[in-house]
């Protein structure tokens, strides 16, 4: 029995369809990220789960209870917004106590401890840093012991270093309290590191629901392939006999595509190799230093540009620079093929 169950959720604003029949089941204790570009409907979906907006059609079930038409206060969840929404005229302690039935000092102290800010009870939100404010918002949301935690881009207003620590803290809290958590984010790294499962959304529908490793290794659509992680997307044509034609080369793969059908071949930059026996001849256009590895931009005839990652050690051996001619190995086992060309 799923803890949270969404069935055929639709949301329209006049002519615009923000959500187009979204269904999703979540198990208790799961950490799920809604990932997608802005306007994909991920925040709309979260607000519908929270009861802050009403779906145009479809049902929301939380813990076996049909909440489709329930107002927010009749659903059991805590929520944290990007803006924190702390009450500026109340001390941190009063903010945290806001959802408690009585002014329970012990519970407030416990929550402040939990988020690692035990000494800030008497301060006002305006006197705290962004990261501290967000942790207080988290403490306030968790104080009434909700079982479902909703996070609406909670980290995107913070700077990179704070984001990293808070990310770990959120995951640790989730594990420790046995919460079921949904986090909306447009930051794929955040989703990949935090989530048990990622829901990739685009144009109001779900593109793929899978574990981070699965999403990364086996994207289910051209959109997911292009949106999550770096990806080379090369235009090719299917031959209709279980192979594809790419710039004069014929590569195995592409079963099920008809002859002449336009397809896209996808490799991650780290999956391509520089190899004297490689199939594809290319010229190095530029080399970018990225710390532990280099990313080289290559050009191969009418294929256009693509990228390849080269480890630091191998880079020293190869001594690549702009203008070098190389041969590229195209590993068929790492290849993903999708219908159509990227728009």
């Amino acid at each position: 029995m799923a803890y949270l169950s969404l069935t055929n959720i639709e949301k329209s604003y006049g002519q615009f369809r923000a959500l187009d029949g979204v269904s999703l089941d979540m198990e208790e204790g799961e950490f799920v990220c809604f990932l997608g570009p802005s306007g994909c409907g991920k925040t709309s979906l979260l607000r519908i789960i929270a009861g802050l907006d009403r779906q145009s059609a479809g049902t929301v079930e939380i813990a076996g209870k049909d909440c489709s038409n329930a107002p927010p206060e009749q659903r059991d969840y805590g929520i944290v917004f990007q803006s924190y929404a702390l009450f500026p005229n109340m001390t941190v302690a009063r903010n945290v106590a806001y959802g408690l039935r009585s002014r329970d000092e012990g519970r407030v102290a416990e929550m402040l401890d939990l988020v690692g800010l035990p000494d800030l009870g008497d301060r006002y939100p305006g006197q705290l840093s962004g990261g501290q404010q967000q942790r207080i918002a988290l403490a306030r949301a968790l104080a009434p012991s909700p079982r479902l935690l909703l996070l609406d881009e909670p980290l995107s207003a913070l700077d990179a270093r704070v984001r990293l620590t808070l990310r770990r803290q959120i995951r640790a809290l989730h594990d420790r309290l046995g919460l079921t958590t949904i986090m909306v984010t447009h930051d794929q790294e955040e989703a990949l590191t935090l989530a048990d499962r990622i829901v990739v959304m685009n144009h109001g529908h779900i593109e793929q629901v899978a574990t981070p490793a699965e999403i990364y290794a086996r994207p289910a659509s051209l959109f997911v392939a292009g949106f999550v992680g770096a990806m080379n997307i090369l235009p090719a044509t299917a031959t209709g006999r279980g192979s594809v034609r790419l710039a004069g080369l014929e590569l195995a793969g592409g079963q099920g595509f008809a002859e002449g059908e336009a397809v896209s071949l996808c490799w991650r930059p780290e999956d391509l190799t520089i190899d004297a026996a490689g199939e594809l001849e290319a010229l190095v256009e530029s080399v970018e230093f990225l710390g532990p590895f280099h990313r080289a931009t290559l050009r191969a005839g009418d294929l256009g540009c693509f990228a390849i990652d080269v480890g630091a050690e191998r880079m020293r051996d190869l001594g690549l620079s702009g203008g070098s001619a190389v041969r590229i190995g195209l590993p068929v086992d790492r290849l993903r093929i999708f219908a159509g060309h990227p728009s």
């Binding site: 802050l52 107002p71 206060e73 005229n89």
Partner: protein, 548 residues
């Protein structure tokens, strides 16, 4: 399944809509109907309109009104722009003082400058030689008094328009070699143009619909506001009076539409990333200019104070307090001032609750989009309705036999309600602006924490909006204290407010007593204003910890 439709918010919002429908739309509808009726309530179609068009004095009054309002607008803007420019774009000393002085005319009824002008430039005036034989009574006097009375509004709007300016535009212009004149015409003026339109339409509206000044200084120069009064109170011709009211309503609505349009534009002008302009020029010239204007503004008030304290201008300058013994000049005596105090305090109290509550319901409640649009629309309507027109509508609506609210007629309550409705828009706008600045997620957080909306309203929303709430209350108090237009049709002998008593005393020739009562209103408004400043300061100090 848990049901979601919540009755309470729908009922509350419905209550607000009902109030505004009954006390705003109802009277206005009654006025419109009256336009098509004769003296006895028979439907006569366009008869009143033909009467209006064929009456030379009414057409003349329309022309006069438009002339007066246009001239007043031009002169007021020409005087207020350099004043506001000095306050915002130079580092001149004494800004707070000049800002305060510019607001002084707001504390008195518009009758005060009119009366002071009588003593300065009238037939026995101190400076009558300056007039070189021209009469103060007529367009000249009306325009001068109107400029004085509505100068504060222009300065307020222009100061706001000129104070939002992106310093980086000026830096970029300088870097590109533009001199001060070119910067003024390419950056400052375009930046302030919507503020100018706003100020112009507000001053135009005020000058057009003001009733007190032309009553005192009009002489034989009819304007629409006095003609409404003449038709209704003098000739008892309600039908034609309503048509004249309509003639007043149209240009005002047009001006306010322009104001609304430009206010929307002004907002979009500045992005959140703009850098505030910090003036550096010493502004010596501006000190001189603002000083001169300040002396004129204070001089007019001082003249009123002076004549109220002497025995008989210009023959007996012996100081006396007998002008303040109002029982000698008006049957209401000091009672009219008591009525005004009750009216002002009541308007401040109920009006603040009404406007803030209404704005909260329309800004922060979930759903109910149609009802919200209705309340918002009704809330903005009074802006375009001159007080006289509203007051006239109240007569027709509540004096109609068969109206269950007929009992309100002639009571202080109807004065109170009419004043609240007349001033509703400004309160609503101020409240809505303050509420929009609050984080939109407060209500969502509260709902998720299962805290009632009422608790968040009282614990978070109201404390955060307290400065705006005080602003609304003080605006309502001071304006209700000085207003003449709406109440002039609605008072009874027992409920006569001071502003009407001033008008009566001026008409019966006891001008010094009228000036004295003006000064009483002025002083009480000033005291309340000072109290407001003190309370606000204390409040800011107490809440400094979190306002930061």
């Amino acid at each position: 399944m848990i049901t979601s439709f919540r009755w309470k918010p729908a009922l509350l919002l419905g209550g607000w809509a009902a109030f505004l429908l009954v006390f705003l739309a109802g009277p206005l509808g009654a006025l419109l109907v009256k336009c098509f009726e004769d003296r006895y309530g028979n439907w006569i179609g366009a008869g009143n309109f033909t009467a209006f068009v064929s009456a030379p004095n009414l057409i003349g009054a329309t022309r006069n009104s438009l002339t007066i309002a246009s001239l007043t607008t031009l002169i007021t803007l020409a005087l207020a722009f350099p004043f506001a420019f000095g306050l915002t774009r130079s580092a001149m000393p004494g800004k707070a003082l000049f800002r305060a002085i510019a607001q002084v005319p707001l504390l008195a009824p518009s009758l005060l400058p009119a009366l002071s002008l009588v003593y300065l430039f009238g037939n026995k005036g101190l400076l009558r030689d300056v007039m070189m034989g021209h009469s103060l009574y007529g367009p000249l006097g009306i325009v001068i008094a109107s400029v004085f009375a509505f100068f504060p509004q222009a300065v307020l709007i222009l100061t706001i328009a000129l104070s939002v300016s992106d310093a980086r535009l000026y830096e970029a212009a300088r870097a590109l070699g533009a001199g001060p004149v070119r910067r003024f015409f390419t950056i400052t003026l375009p930046g302030a143009q919507y503020g100018l339109v706003s100020a112009a339409s507000v001053v135009f509206t005020c000058a057009l619909s003001d009733f007190g000044i032309p009553m005192v200084l009009g002489g034989h120069y009819p304007v629409l506001a006095t003609e409404v009064f003449e038709q209704v109170v003098g000739l008892q011709d309600f039908g034609v009076g309503s048509v004249v009211g309509l003639a007043l309503l149209l240009p005002v609505s047009l001006a306010l539409w322009a104001e609304n349009w430009s206010a929307g534009r002004q907002k979009a002008l500045l992005s959140a990333r703009s850098v505030l302009y910090r003036p550096t020029s010493p502004g010596t010239g501006f000190v001189a200019y603002c000083g001169l204007i300040g002396v004129l503004l204070l001089g007019i008030v001082a003249m009123g104070a002076f004549v109220s304290l002497i025995t008989f201008w210009p023959y007996n300058l012996h100081p006396t307090l007998k002008n303040y013994d109002f029982g000698h000049f008006d049957e209401a005596g000091w009672g009219s001032f008591g009525n005004s105090l009750i009216l002002a305090a009541g308007t401040a109290f109920f009006g603040t609750i009404l406007t803030f509550g209404g704005a909260y319901l329309t800004e922060k409640l979930p759903g109910l989009a149609g009802l919200k649009r209705l309340v918002r629309g009704l809330a903005m309507l009074p802006l375009g309705v001159p007080g006289m027109v509203l007051g006239l509508g109240y007569i027709f609506f509540f004096d109609r036999p068969g109206n269950p609210l007929h009992g309100l007629y002639g009571t202080l309550a109807i004065l109170l309600i009419c004043t609240c409705v007349h001033l509703y828009s400004v309160g609503h706008l101020t409240a809505a602006t303050a509420l929009k600045q609050l984080d939109a997620d407060y209500e969502a957080v509260s709902a998720s924490l299962k805290v009632s909306a009422w608790r968040t309203f009282s614990r978070v929303t109201v404390p955060l909006c307290l400065p705006a709430i005080l602003d609304i209350a003080i605006y309502l108090f001071v304006t209700a204290m000085t207003t003449v237009s709406a109440v002039v049709f609605l008072y009874s002998p027992d409920t006569k407010p001071a502003s009407v008593a001033i008008l009566n005393m001026d008409e019966s020739g006891t001008v010094a007593a009228a000036a004295a009562l003006c000064m009483v209103i002025f002083t009480s408004s000033a005291v309340v204003r000072l109290l407001h400043i003190l309370v606000e300061r204390a409040l800011l100090k107490r809440t400094q910890a979190w306002r930061g």
